[in-house]
Amino acid sequence: MASPPAVTDAQLIARCQVADDRHAFAELVRRHQSAVRACLRKLTAGNHALADDLAQETFLLAWRNLRGFRQDARFSTWLYRIATNCWLAHARKRREELLGDRDADVVADDDDADGGDSTHTDHARAASLRIDMERALGSLTEAERAAIVQCYHNDLSHEEAAYVLDCPVGTVKTHIFRARQKLKHVLAAWNPAG
């Protein structure tokens, strides 16, 4: 088990807020970049280049707004909120292009997956599940996809997801309910009951 870091996030944030400490901010980026980029990769349905661009934008916005962060939520949750807003803004602006990119990426991934061995190992199952899940998430509305990613993949509570999505808790539950109905249909091939 990894030992807790010598300096906590709260201490690093305080250094940034009081003294514009860039070294402290660099440490915060190092600690959270993986989670933020992975979250955005899910939201963009596997478009890594776009996810990394949005992650850059997320951390720049975090730096600009860090003085206003009152630590009423975890820093990671606050970052997810910024990241989700960046993704939603981008998706609204370039909806058509986004869908085109996703389809192309999924097709490319399909080709890679089919090119290997045909034995159904755990690894192959995981890779196959990832591809199908990305495609399935792509079939959801932006709000539904964001709710699923925050609650399942980022393991946030409904209350935290409501903070990230800036909506009531009831709306998050509705998005998850609707998303599950769609996922059941799109991922029907994975249902052992057939």
């Binding site: 901010f25 660099a26 993986s34 599950r180 009951a193």
Partner: protein
């Protein structure tokens, strides 16, 4: 776990979907995205820090202090005279309840506006 929230009723027949989502989520959380220069890129894109020399703040403070002391010596008794005249003018005004109320409202509005402005979030 959020997806087992009793408010979100799930059909037992959908257990396969829960497992699928849990598997994908576990895989997602285990995947570490290597930094590979990402942090360095973010730091290089941050806006440049304001390049103010260290001596600027004490120098400005000293200049204001000098100006204040200079003004106090150059205008002996001026502040006292102005205050006395203002008080005399005010005291000469006829007082009414509506006038006092209006003055209180005005002071209140100015105070609250000032407080709200000082506590505003960027």
């Amino acid at each position: 776990m959020p997806h087992t929230d009793p408010d979100v009723r799930t059909d037992p027949a959908d257990a396969w979907l829960d497992r699928l989502l849990a598997d994908d989520a576990a895989q997602h959380r285990n995947d570490y995205v290597d930094d590979a220069g990402f942090t360095a890129q973010v730091m290089s894109d941050l806006p440049a820090p304001a390049a103010l020399p260290r001596w600027r703040k004490p120098a400005v403070t000293a200049l204001w202090a000098t100006a204040g002391i200079g003004a106090a010596f150059a205008l002996p008794g001026a502040v006292l005279d102005v205050t006395r005249e203002a008080f005399r003018l005010l005291a000469a005004q006829p007082l009414s309840l509506s006038g006092i109320a209006a003055a209180l409202v005005a002071v209140g509005v100015v105070t609250w506006t000032g407080t709200a402005w000082a506590l505003r979030r960027d």
